[in-house]
Point group: C2
Chain length 528, copies 2
């Protein structure tokens, strides 16, 4: 009865319902080959054509918390041979349904778990009940009472391969509209399938119908892994003695030069959305919190419609006092990433495998401790490989990608730290290199050749900070409270800001940051 | 040598420096009583009046990561008799300094930990060095090499009472300006001190100079406890099977009726700042994430200048599918709070005690399981105590406060759940009570008589949602993507939103929410 294996992508529209009805009628006329034990269709009607199953199915009234029944709902992931021949209740979505004569097959789904359910006209199941079952639209939520039966052969297309559920009672809890704007099966199909072109779902359709798109096992895995990245970030930093803080998003002045900032009406004044928690995490250091991190939204009014830019994303930011050298900071951040990568490898292997099924990627490689290269070495490596660039030129996106490939080939790692950037390409608060004023105590970090963190030692001396602000043409009055923060003694410090969505995208080898933002925002998208 | 106990609040200004110099001169003229072992002032000058200590003190150059010295800095909290007679390095702030003849006393501070340091003119310490020490401005950061000495009697005014540090070398790492806008000692003084009126610091001065204000042991404790609330919130929900999500703050339409929302310029269009993650966490439920939470900034454009309103605060939001009754949700949230309260009690006792020193409060009481009252019971209780109100009137702030007192007297708890609010006072997406259409399946939760959570069963049926939206006069086109989210099957669900700063304020019995927001935002404050 492993019929789900070749289930059609049938749309349960009215057309489909009619088709199902037709099929059912046809089934009455033609004596079909008996399909299964208990399939004794002749006995399904009562004496007067009465529906013998009428109390065993139907559409439930809206669950409005009327009662607290003493009923346990079993999770699909717990369905296995250990529960064989037991009768139990499940609540799940109908992922696919297929009527076949006097039978109906469902694939039921709960997040990433699926099981086959089956009902056929018989002693207790009426034609009407099977017809009702066949008419349930895909993605509807149903309550099913059924008996767990060992499946032979295994049901390869379901996560629960060893059993199926023989339906005894069936109720619709929440019906989906019959016409779905996208089908979950289509949205889960690998775009690189070897068996020729197939239906896939384009990105705008996905994002316009995100509530459906997010139901794919791939997306369930992506966002569970994303939650894991945040948890590993926080737990590791907690272990390292950091304190979590929260910083304001509405700020009085465009902080870092004024470009790319969203303006907000603030009562009778105007304000801006913070492009980063930079100033505030540094103020927390000046306030003696010593080591801080913050996870929160950051906003960039960049009109960039690329694969890796969002106008709003989640920043995983950290900042710490150090004693003598900012490499205490780079080492800490390097160790943080090692802990994150180990945690993902050890605790999210299922999620990674699930995502790889739809989006194949090279397994992620990292070193312990992390590799740190100097900018000058990177420039040299690029030049050796045909890139023409000046010593102090910033890296272009293609150069970064190439660098990632060259570093992987040479050092066998997808993650590395690039240290000592030219001063000219860094923000005004970056500490200059004491040994060479054209360089700075700053670094970026990369995953698979794309930047996922930018950081530096910061200037903790108010006079030097004023000097560098002026050099960058920043109006001092707009950043006065920031500069003042360093007038009452401040520990030398440094830190960095990580783009959460980029880390997840690049770690998984995905091609677009919209795949790792639950409800992405870009210059053209504000809904849902 | 326990001189810190009666240290003066002396401002280390130029005037103070002169005074110190004068005192030093006077000390040379008058033969003082010997103060301590090794105080042999006559031997401090070299043959030609040379400074014998000149290589033992001074102002360090800016720490720009020039070198990586192999030197361990000991934490103040680790200083105790176990380290007696050892020579070691510390880096700390000068909280107070006091010159007294040929001696100088410091109180050094690292976050909430303090220790006394001492130096006097002697065999290796010159007059010039003591003078330099006396001139160091409060809040400057210093590196000190010193010998740990047992203190007898104990130094009651420091956290490290058993030892003091005898200075051998002394360097200024980062100097504070001599004039501080507020003194840490003043900012830490209890406003309810029994020994008459004393200098305290008003709230605006604190907030204008937040970087100094946050250095008080009280504030160090408040924000460490606040981090603890977030950690307990997340860890408990992780344990309960929730998934962390992130929701957009920039939204296309003012979601909940249009009032109290900040407008944002979004390229050529306009957008708004989300007043809550409400719609998005519900969409995550419709997307099969089953149980979700999110911690993030929420924005309210309310022109309210009260003790408990901010224009931007941190929402601890959760939402979960349930099976039959929304009390599954209230029970989960009740259990969540019990876990938070237990965690604070068991792991943050020091922080609570520290805050109570400055701001005394009644010890916090809670029940396990949490108390749940019905709105009608609360109205009755209030009426019995003289409050006149209709059955379906909303609770005024004074009524809520009184209710908190009455509940505490009757049930011995500072936390309770108030269930079944009148439908009329709740948002459009609230599920009506099936037994009485004037009430609803909604609840608030209270700490010490103030609301800290609002929540409900939500309407998961698109038709009923449209009906209720219309009833509330909401333009359907502005919330279309939200309504559409429920068209493809949705589990019954409910949740709530917690105001993080309110929880910390009320748990600690503080009187103003600005005390629990690191950089608060209200209609009049946008800086720092």
């Amino acid at each position: 009865m492993s019929d789900a294996q070749n289930a059609e992508n049938q749309q349960p529209s009215k057309k489909a319902q009619k088709k199902a009805e037709k099929a059912a009628k046809k089934a009455e006329l033609i004596q079909e080959k008996k399909q299964a034990a208990g399939d004794n269709a002749a006995a399904t009607d009562g004496p007067d054509g009465e529906d013998i199953s009428k109390d065993l199915y139907g559409k439930l009234p809206l669950i409005q918390s009327t009662s607290k029944p003493d009923r346990t709902l079993t999770k699909l992931k717990d369905l296995g041979v250990a529960l064989a021949d037991q009768s139990l209740w499940v609540r799940a979505r109908v992922q696919t349904s297929r009527a076949k004569g006097k039978q109906c097959f469902f694939v039921l789904r709960q997040q990433q778990f699926t099981v086959q359910a089956y009902l056929a006209v018989g002693e207790k199941i009426s034609k009407q009940m099977v017809k009702f079952a066949a008419g349930i639209s895909k993605e509807s939520i149903v309550d099913i009472k059924g008996i767990v039966k060992k499946a032979d052969p295994k049901i390869e297309s379901c996560s629960q391969q060893d059993v199926e559920v023989h339906v005894e009672e069936l109720y619709v809890v929440s019906a989906a509209e019959p016409q779905l704007p996208l089908l979950i099966e289509d949205a889960m199909r690998s775009e690189n399938a070897e068996d020729g072109p197939q239906i896939t779902v384009n990105q705008d359709t996905r994002l316009n119908n995100r509530v459906l798109d997010l139901r794919t096992t791939t997306n369930q895995a992506v966002f569970r892994l994303e939650a894991g990245v945040c948890k590993l970030f926080r737990d590791t930093l907690d272990k390292f003695g950091f304190v979590e803080i929260h910083t304001p998003k509405i700020i009085s002045a465009a902080s870092e030069g004024g470009a790319n900032v969203f303006a907000v009406s603030y009562f009778k004044n105007s304000a801006y959305l913070a492009q980063s928690p930079q100033f505030y995490k540094q103020m927390a250091i000046a306030s003696d919190f010593n080591r801080v991190y913050t996870v929160g939204s950051v906003f960039r009014a960049e009109d960039s419609n690329t694969h890796r830019h969002l106008t709003e994303f989640i920043g995983l930011d950290l900042e710490m006092a150090f004693n003598y050298h900012y490499h205490e900071v780079t080492d800490t951040i390097g160790n943080l990433f090692v802990e994150i990568f180990k945690g993902l490898r050890d605790h999210y292997a299922d999620e990674i495998a699930t995502v790889n099924q739809q989006y194949p990627a090279e397994p992620f490689k990292f070193l312990e401790p992390s590799l740190r290269l100097e900018y000058r070495e990177a420039v040299q490596l690029l030049r050796e490989n045909g890139v023409e660039m000046g010593d102090e030129d910033d890296l272009s996106t293609p150069s970064e990608k190439l660098l990632g490939k060259l570093v992987r080939a040479k050092y066998d790692t997808d993650f590395f730290i690039l240290d000592k950037y030219p001063l000219a390409v860094r923000p005004f608060y970056t500490m200059p290199d004491p040994n060479n004023p054209r360089y700075s105590n700053s670094y970026d970090m990369f995953i698979r050749g794309e930047e996922i963190l930018s950081g530096a030692q910061r200037i903790h001396d108010p006079e030097l900070l004023v000097e560098r602000s002026k050099h960058h043409g920043i109006k001092l009055d707009t950043i006065q409270s920031y500069i003042d923060a360093f007038k009452f003694g401040c520990f030398p410090h440094g830190g960095g800001g990580i783009g959460m969505e980029r880390v997840v995208m690049l770690y998984l080898g995905l091609d677009n940051i919209r795949k790792t933002s639950m409800f992405p925002r870009d210059p053209k998208r504000l809904t849902p």
